[in-house]
Symmetry: C2
Subunit: 213 residues, 2 copies
């Protein structure tokens, strides 16, 4: 039983995955998500529909790959537990976004970012995709709460963590939408920080906004 099932096989595997996904996103963008069938995607990618289903369990998964979840959970752990909840979570979200869309100052969206933008455009404009994307946030929320590692015996503590996580994720999603509407011209971490600051400042009232703004 090979722990690393032979480099060549896994390479081809991820290769075909990429191929399928790129063709899918392109077709969806051109003709619309609902108007494109999985069979058409398969044909364009030069394979049978079954193969597509083997790599992506549902049509939605052709667009919704979650590179984000693992990053966030990892960065939550890096935050000092002394900070207030929303700050720990917020920082982790901003850091993850930085890691995801790393670009040099002054540059425009990179190639990878253009792909991300295309996918997000689909996720926001298509009902089915938007719904599943928001549901992914729901499980990411659980991951964050777990990563926070606060006292899990006290239901009230858990509840507060859940509220903080869901609220932060919602703010981040709003930031994502704005980022897309701006075609990614502003840097993503900046927009997310702005969103978090906005809802933080408003919650406080008027007493001096966050310097992040």
């Amino acid at each position: 039983m090979p722990d690393q099932p032979s480099k060549l096989r896994t390479r081809r595997r991820t290769e075909t995955r990429r191929t399928i996904q790129e063709h899918a996103v392109r077709l969806f963008t051109e003709r619309g998500y609902d108007a494109t069938t999985v069979a058409e995607v398969a044909e364009t990618a030069g394979m049978s529909p079954m193969t597509v289903y083997r790599h992506f369990p549902t049509k939605e998964d052709l667009v919704l790959v979650d590179e984000y979840g693992a990053l966030v959970a990892e960065r939550i752990l890096a935050q000092p537990a002394t900070q207030p909840l929303v700050r720990r979570i917020g920082n982790a979200l901003v850091d993850s976004a930085t890691a995801l869309t790393g670009r040099e100052h002054g540059e425009g969206p990179s190639v990878g970012e253009e792909f991300l933008l295309a996918r997000l455009r689909l996720m926001i404009s298509t009902q089915a995709l938007r719904a599943r994307h928001l549901d992914n946030h729901y499980v990411l929320q659980q991951a964050i709460v777990d990563a926070l590692g606060d006292d899990t015996t006290d239901p009230d503590t858990v509840f507060r963590a859940q509220v903080a996580a869901s609220a932060c994720l919602a703010a981040m999603h709003t930031a994502l939408v704005r980022w897309v509407e701006d075609d990614g011209r502003t840097e993503l971490p900046t927009v997310i920080a702005k969103a978090l600051a906005a809802f933080g400042a408003d919650t406080v009232g008027v007493e001096g906004g966050d310097p992040l703004t």
Copy 2:
């Protein structure tokens, strides 16, 4: 051409709607949502599948009826515009919940509330339903921003309103989950208020929590 197409017709219409929905929720709860076909629901309700689809465009809509959206939008307008955003929205959410689950003090869940609980249990445990439910929040968010009626020319103001609305709705959703896990023993408005206070207090930091807690 009768403007009010004869009371009796509309009455029967809403009647069959209720019938279908009750049978559907019961079957879904007993056998599971995915394991129950629309054809089975139709048969149980004593009608053809076509009729079910005439009354509910999708299987998901058999569970997801939104009595909440209109209430919230209406109550946003009732809030004084001097308050900070999250308070205006939060108050509207709590008030709407009160209106929705009005019960006398000391009572347990009413009949209507039991039905609501059953539907929410399905919405939370079933992927497809949970996703669509969260997506409904997404459109409710837009309704709230519109109802706030703040300066729509300044993109930053709109952005802040969107962030506040989405964060509040996320907090409310977390409250809903908790309410369901508690089988509705605590009163819903109380739980929602607690959630909003939690994320408000945490955002502020430590400087004196909200008296709502």
